[in-house]
Symmetry: C2
Subunit: 679 residues, 2 copies
């Protein structure tokens, strides 16, 4: 423990255990059999990893391994669902109707003045593509993934139990945490400032002492979340304004690729912002936790993780949540659009629902995050830092080339990156788990992408631990701690989010309602027409009317828009119609049914799979019996010694030890009392 | 264990531990300080109960005690909510409108032909009464009760932990269950029948062996549940037909009290049926479990409890669920009512919602069950049986009056009822817990009734255990087993049921919707009118029209009924209107919001309250340190003995005992390894 203070006062710059020499057995095997891309199909040598790096890191790799393994069936089913979408795309009546050459539906302009009327048949491509992700199989898939998450939790519990048994941790309990130096310093400061009064009570920080820090925490967290939302909003404004600007461009090529340009640039901006904010938020969370002065290291870590998780989660998912649930819902209606800042009209989704856009945003964010953040940053930055550290030390001692040749182990290790804890590794994986489960209804390929990433990730992390990082101090751990709770939380939230994605973002429910309530012949024919409402173009406000007359060969008098509203010639024109409320009611009913059915099924999975594998529980039981047996024999043996002639002093000793023994037995969690009875 | 077989073969008729003599200390104290109604306000002497009856029964009484204790705040808040309803009944605009003397709304007849039109103002009393249970405070109260249930679970975990510590059960694990005799018999039979082939594999019953039993189980369970539903349906038919019959009665007194008579008799019939079926279902569940031939006693008990619980739960709650969610919803509309068996029109609720009827049904079932089943049966039947047994033994030896005077302890105890397990006691309480949590939104006084019942129940059960039952064999237990899971399940179901009761059974949502969407001035004025639809009486089918002309002084042309439908003069007469779908959507949205908010809050409660009380975890930690200390000292002491001169043989012994010791230490759950490090 003294090393920490020496490190703190700058006598030492770093303290770390040394890597074993490469010629020794263990690191060599690890390097060849584990930290190697060519063995990606093999199980990890968990025992060796644990031996070299300690239980805590061992558990991380075991968890990562199980997660990757579990992703295999998930991505398989995901691919099948996607293929089902591909196979049935030509049988999909709504998209057939949109693509039909006789389809002459004229849609209202997508922006004021500069945009013109457009034919629905131009949305044919989007409509066909959206069927890939918006078909009944996705409903099945999101139920499957919810159960998959429950199954994963259960399997992890079992795997953890097995590792606990194999690594002999079953009785291990977290060592008592010593207060952190910062905490003790604060307590000392406090007791010094109030010197005279009741020193005994000053032994800990009260709520009142922490109040300022807590307040700062809450305010900063809200501020950061606010910043995230503001940026999402900023990107929306960017999209709206750029779209309007590009539509006015004289260049016809620019005009024809407006949608594509805007969407792609916006998604990339979002991605870049997410990547930058991720780093900022990591630093902010650490700073806030230091402010809080938690008592123990464990509490420090948990608070830090909790804060980092919330910030990064909001950061990663708020643009996606906007697209899934808000985009295209707050647009108003032709003639009475909703404007932000009084001049920007809120954006609509292209025909075919926002599901397609959600899908694009999801895949860009997920792939971008994985490729750039996880792989580039994780490989590139340690390498870069190593290089810098190497160059720095070279500048200091550029002439001693001789000594460079045979560097001591502690010197070569010093060039390596210091170990910064497992938090970033776990965080990355949990955010990925979020992508895999939260919006899986809109993107069934997510598990596949995650699987491909993780197969590389395991070996990448392994390589990093073996060759790029200073060897971490081995730490014991029985479980993955707070991460398990976070996983559970994500899995729970996933159920409700998927329910909402299916019922609100996709067209699943409107299709069902049409088929069973409104369709004259029970088929999907006429669905497209049913979802559209009419608008009399003479009702456009002045200055909002399009300046583009259109090239339809006739004067446009009525345009269509996607909403359930009364027609212009009804008694209450443009009012929300009964169909809207019917569909809304069915959507909400679906959410309730879906959520409760999936939760019930998860509970059943939870209940069917025992937490402890049967062979392990048998083993533990057997060992307990063996232990009791040994205990009894030992007791007998001792009695024999005591009974044989000994000097009085030693006899005393003996009986003392016996009484100790019996105290222990008693205190010893009643095991002995119990076993005596059963024997 | 031999006693069981002797009992089975009829050599002994009963085996039971004897009660201690009343003059001894323990039973006397128990009798005076525990099994006594006059000490109802005191905490139970848990230590003594445990000492006399064992941990299992001790835990039951501890649980019952905590439950009763927790009911105090719940019933307090419930009473306040009820009083709030009473206080605001005169400010309630809808009921004021109904009761207003100028209210001339004519309602459609409640049954065909014999019932006449009626004035809405005659429903004034019901409308006022229903406000008592249908006001915004009930929404608050049901959220409160959901959190209360979560809090109760958490507190029980803590109490259990504390008792485990105090009763020295922390390390106790369930003893290995031996297979039941019935199971071994079946296995033997099986291996005899297939004598030659591979005896080794015949050691257990496979799924195939159990298949017939499982099938019988499933079929019988479904049948029993079907019987319950059939009886509920039967009572509905009874209600409908009796109502029609009584309306035709020439006696005007009978006619004017139709509603009251029918409601009361139906509720009593329901109650009687529930009481009878409860007994039947208990027997059926036991028979089914015997058929299953579970392997161990524990598994037998769990299966039995599970089955009994499901049957009794369905039995107790299906009439209530019918009233809450189905009654008055499947009535059709005037001119096109829904008929069962083509002649019975489905019943409607009186104006003011079905909440009032639900409330009446709930209170009758709950009070009836508690008074009759719990108290009368529990006191009466053991007394009766005791009397019978006493008389029987007297007949056999009527002359030996002398010996009767100084009966041996085992003889007096033989007159007592044998102990039948804790299942009925728990079951009763869980069903009560169901009444307290499941429909609390409609009956805020339920916790109060439960509290009053339980204050008696504790002492009643105590008395029964001390004086009426043969002393049960003391059994150890660490927790209340499957009951905890059942409690959790009930608490989870309660959230969703309360959400549905508030949004569908009560008028809370329609009122909200009217106030914020339809009301011209944002007040509740006009709400009653808004919920009614009009019917043109000339549209009644032939033969269904009422024969009663009514005494309104004018000819009735239009009557009103409670539904959201288009008026007779609209383009689509009597079609479901937009308001219906709007209200439905809001109702469903409320269910989603309510369920998720309450679940989140429960999770937060779960997370905020630690499972182990702080003082106990500190104590356990201290003891562990002490234990390690003793262990180390003992080891040192032993080394000393070994080092002092001993004969070679004894030295061997010594080293063996040492090695045993170290094996043990190692096997001993890693504690020692760990502690050595920390010391």
């Amino acid at each position: 423990a003294g090393i920490t203070s020496l490190l703190g006062s700058g006598v030492y710059t770093a303290a770390y255990p040394l890597h074993d020499n490469m010629f020794y057995c263990l690191p060599k095997i690890l390097y060849e059999e584990w930290a190697n891309y060519s063995v990606f199909y093999k199980f990890q040598p968990m025992g060796l990893v644990r031996k070299y790096f300690g239980e805590k890191i061992g558990l991380y790799f075991a968890w990562l391994g199980l997660y990757t393994q579990m992703l295999i069936p998930a991505s398989l089913v995901g691919v099948i669902v996607f293929l089902y979408g591909c196979a049935t795309v030509d049988d999909n009546i709504p998209s057939m109707e949109i693509c039909h050459p006789n389809n002459n539906i004229i849609m209202c302009p997508l922006c004021d003045q500069v945009c013109g009327y457009w034919k629905l048949s131009t949305a044919c491509g989007t409509a066909r593509a959206s069927h890939l992700f918006d078909n009944p199989a996705t409903v099945f898939f999101s139920i499957f993934m919810a159960l998959w998450a429950a199954m994963f939790m259960e399997h992890w519990k079992r795997r953890q139990m097995r590792l606990n048994y194999e690594w002999d941790l079953t009785g291990f309990e977290d060592e008592e945490d010593h207060p952190r130096a910062e905490y003790e310093f604060r307590v000392m400061q406090k007791s010094l400032s109030k010197d005279q009064k009741s020193k005994h009570k000053m032994e800990k920080l009260t709520c009142r002492d922490r109040l300022p820090a807590y307040m700062t925490n809450i305010v900063m967290m809200l501020l950061m979340i606010g910043v995230t939302f503001a940026i999402v909003f900023g990107v929306i404004i960017y999209r709206i304004s750029t779209k309007a600007a590009l539509h006015m461009s004289p260049n016809p090529f620019t005009r024809s690729h407006v949608q594509l340009t805007v969407k792609t640039t916006a998604a990339i901006i979002n991605l870049v912002v997410i990547l930058i904010l991720d780093e900022v938020y990591g630093a902010v969370a650490r700073w806030l936790t230091v402010l809080e002065v938690p008592k123990t290291d464990k509490s420090f870590e948990e608070r830090l993780i909790f804060k980092t998780f919330i910030l990064k989660f909001v950061n990663a998912f708020s643009p996606i949540i906007y697209i899934a649930f808000f985009r295209g819902r707050l647009v108003g209606r032709p003639g009475s659009y909703l404007y932000v800042f009084e001049s920007y009209r809120m954006e609509e989704c292209a025909h075919g629902g926002c599901l397609m856009e959600l899908c694009i945003q999801l895949s860009i964010t997920m792939l971008g995050k994985q490729l750039i953040q996880n792989n580039l940053f994780e490989i590139g930055i340690p390498k870069l830092k190593k290089l810098i550290r190497y160059i720095q030390s070279k500048q200091g001692a550029f002439q001693e080339e001789e000594r460079q040749k045979k560097l001591q182990r502690y010197e070569t290790d010093h060039f390596l990156e210091p170990f910064a804890g497992l938090t970033p590794e776990y965080m990355e994986m949990i955010i990925q788990f979020g992508f895999v489960t939260l919006f899986v209804a809109s993107f069934p390929l997510a598990p596949l992408f995650a699987l491909l990433n993780n197969i590389i990730e395991i070996r990448l992390d392994a390589k990093k631990f073996v060759t790029e990082l200073r060897r971490p101090v081995a730490a014991r751990a029985k479980d993955i701690g707070i991460w398990y709770n976070i996983l559970r939380g994500v899995a729970k939230v996933a159920v409700i989010i998927n329910a909402f994605v299916i019922s609100f973002t996709s067209d699943f429910i409107p299709r069902l309602v049409y088929q069973y309530m409104y369709s004259p012949d029970g088929s999907m024919h006429g669905f497209v027409n049913h979802t559209l409402s009419y608008f009399n173009v003479s009702h456009f406000q002045e200055g909002k009317r399009t300046t583009d007359p259109g090239h339809f060969g006739f004067h446009v008098e009525i345009c269509s828009y996607k909403d359930y509203r009364h027609s212009p010639w009804s008694a209450t024109p443009y009012e929300i119609s009964k169909e809207f409320w019917t569909v809304l009611a069915v959507r909400l009913a679906f959410v309730i049914v879906f959520q409760n059915v999936v939760m019930l099924m998860s509970d059943i999975v939870d209940w069917l799979i025992p937490d402890i594998p049967k062979d392990i529980s048998l083993q533990i039981h057997k060992e307990k019996i063996l232990l009791v047996d040994l205990f009894m024999k030992e007791e007998q043996g001792k009695n024999q010694i005591c009974e044989s002639g000994l000097s009085t002093g030693e006899k005393d000793n003996c009986s003392r030890s016996q009484s100790n023994n019996s105290t222990m037995t008693h205190a010893h969690t009643g095991l002995h009392t119990n076993s005596t009875k059963s024997l």
